[in-house]
Symmetry: C2
Subunit: 432 residues, 2 copies
């Protein structure tokens, strides 16, 4: 069979990593697929920056639009990132009848519905395994490996930078700012770290996972998002004293009234496997009605790890490139005409347990006063402790409706039982 | 499109679980695949034992051979187990042009080469996701999700009964026999537990994983196998004192001289994620040259968890049932003509670190005598401790060739430095 021809857009970190692995493992891949995969073209705005060892036989251009319209290219691999020019390129590639592989989570989370519709109309594939959790084959696991299940919920550590920061805060007792500065120096975090620590990057990925799991359109704008910038060293230590780790988690869950779709710091019991996923590593826990809990762990970023996921998509497309589109796995796991909108629940309508830290004036009656308000609001308390020196009261609630907790905290504020802000972190037990 | 028709052989635990899930999630699956999957026939030797809620529209028979030759059946699902009649049924089904899905690890490990060759000749699929690690989609992850990688090694907790026993021994300080008796009472372990605790079941699964990872024929008879029956409560406690957990691990690794293929108890640093996989759960750690480490975790057994994997295979086949065989993923991940025999290394030729427990006469010089022999043999020692009361010496070696260790232990025996058997457990650091 003739080789399958790939054109790469963007030779930055992931582009170079993908190019390198495609070259190094070319023979191994041919043993798997029964045909050769070759990079015939690559675009990089600034060609002087390209430092690849060997680009023999590859047409290097500085205009990515040349690649998407080149007749020789079968699969366009978009590794530019962002959602401006990348979107135009992907849409143009699809219009030209090219298959597309992308690692671009922002693009898929925001414009996936439009992109997949265009691809369906043209009978081409859009692979995006690399857009979620880097090298972990989580898209394939949900879309195919668990195809016999109703997915009930999933929860993931899907931003490596945030997990690195929280891990360092716990292991070394450091504070948020100093670890963030180190992460930036190490190149984990962007100069503007907002997308990582603010939750936007995790929300992109969670949006994609939720659609794959529940067969709903991508609805990034409905995703609740809370960053880790307010997590203090105190909170990390108190959580640990209670037997929990704080992780920045993306949670998607199907409830009777709708779908929970939320990214926020979360206390997880330290005995849970996912609580022990440390450093820059990612992991996604998926609960299916038949399989129960499964967990997928690996590198969420990095040149070759992300390249691994990009290549898995290329291989899938290469296998069926002459096949019938109807025989392929649909982009969002479900047939296009079976994708059904589901309401995303406002955060006040979720049910969760909570860790609440209140700064008080250290009066002896404060514990009782606070407990009474929780009681009046019908919120059960699992444990409550006072940290003398800091005059902090820590409450671990049972599961309650978030709106209920909001009311209780409003009353506590109104009665001037606290001297400062109230810190509230959701708790997830993740056991079904 | 017309429905895809399934015939199930065996309505025991897994057969009933698969049947139940196929019924319950039928609509959800049709949303995914765009066509219906229906069970049209099922065979059970003793029909009086069938306790399924509803078998309307299903032709129930007591002769499995009727199913494999029924014209209406597209996919034969073999859930009888064992390697006698199951093999005849699977081969007959293939000859009749049926696709086959099986959860039968013994069958695939021992006769897979023959079965896959027959399927290739007939242009039909043989799915066996359920044969390894129950509901975890590990076959798909290695075969497709990591297709861009050279797999360097993998290590798995792939027998739930063994992991349950070792977990209980550690958590509750119990001894092997009492936990085994409980596992039997709970139905985790068979009345004859040899296949679980002796390592045979794990060896079946490891054999399959190694072939998928390295593109080599199945070679079950070359797999080194050591059970957990000799692990004492003492060893579990000493390992813990050294910062390790003991797990029954299957390890497959590609080395220059050949392939390591071995199942044995293993000390793993307690900080490793896989060391924290407890109870009946399974996990497989896979190292690819591009992706680095990835880990897959979930239920390794159970009616519906195993059913989940069976159904994933049914769905894969249903999608491409009218497609070209050349477009499908090959059974052993690599094209049939690209599968290459690799020598399996004898256990004496592996390189490993070791935990060695020696019973001595408690003479003061014993530590020195033993250390000297290790030194003469060129074996580095990471740590050494003497447990006074028990007169035990515990040595943690650095990585050495196993033959070297054998020589050292022979010399220790010859010099009568020990009063009883020597316990030796391999140590795996699993970090590349």
């Amino acid at each position: 069979m003739r080789p399958v021809n790939v054109g790469i857009l963007g030779l930055g970190t992931v582009g170079s990593g993908t190019f390198t692995v495609l070259g190094r493992n070319r023979a191994e891949m041919a043993r798997r697929i029964g045909r050769d995969i070759q990079v015939v073209m690559a675009a990089e705005r600034d060609l002087a920056q390209v430092t690849l060892a060997s680009t023999d036989g590859v047409s290097l251009v500085d205009d990515a639009f040349q690649v998407v319209s080149a007749p020789a290219v079968d699969i366009v691999v978009e590794l530019i990132g962002g959602d401006t020019i990348a979107k135009d390129l992907v849409m143009q590639a699809i219009r030209n009848g090219k298959h597309v592989v992308t690692a671009n989570k922002a693009l898929i989370a925001k414009y996936g519905n439009e992109i997949f519709a265009a691809a369906e109309a043209q009978g081409v594939c859009v692979g995006f395994e690399a857009a979620v959790a880097g090298g972990i084959p989580i898209v394939k696991a949900i879309r195919e490996g668990l195809a016999g299940n109703k997915i009930e919920w999933l929860a993931g550590i899907i931003n490596g930078t945030g997990n690195f920061i929280l891990t360092e805060m716990r292991d070394k007792g450091r504070d948020f700012e100093s670890v963030l500065a180190e992460a930036q120096a190490l190149g984990y975090a962007e100069a503007d770290p907002e997308l990582d620590v603010g939750g936007g990057d995790a929300a992109h990925k969670l949006t994609i996972l939720a659609s794959l799991a529940f067969g709903m359109p991508l609805c990034f704008s409905d995703c609740y998002m809370e960053g880790i910038t307010n997590i203090t060293q105190q909170d990390v230590a108190y959580a640990e004293a209670l037997g929990f780790r704080i992780k920045h988690l993306g949670i998607a869950a199907k409830r009777e009234a709708g779908v929970e779709l939320r990214v926020h710091p979360t206390l997880i019991p330290e005995t849970q496997l996912i609580a022990n996923v440390n450093g820059v590593m990612n992991a996604v826990l998926v609960q299916g009605d038949a399989v129960g809990e499964t967990l997928y762990y690996g590198a969420g970023a990095g040149a070759e790890a992300t390249g691994s996921a990009v290549i898995a998509d290329i291989v899938d497309i290469a296998r069926t490139i002459e096949g019938e589109p109807a025989h392929r796995v649909p982009s969002l796991a479900f047939q296009a005409d079976a994708i059904t909108a589901l309401p995303v629940l406002p955060i006040a309508q979720i049910d969760s347990a909570y860790y609440v830290r209140l700064s008080t004036d250290a009066q002896a009656s404060r514990m009782t006063d606070i407990a009474q308000i929780f009681g009046e609001q019908g919120i059960g308390i699992d444990s409550m402790m006072q940290k003398g020196e800091e005059a902090s009261v820590i409450v671990l609630t049972q599961i309650t409706r978030e709106a209920n907790l909001d009311s209780a905290l409003d009353k506590i504020q109104a009665k001037h039982l606290v001297t400062g802000d109230i810190m509230r972190i959701r708790v997830a037990y993740l056991n079904g």
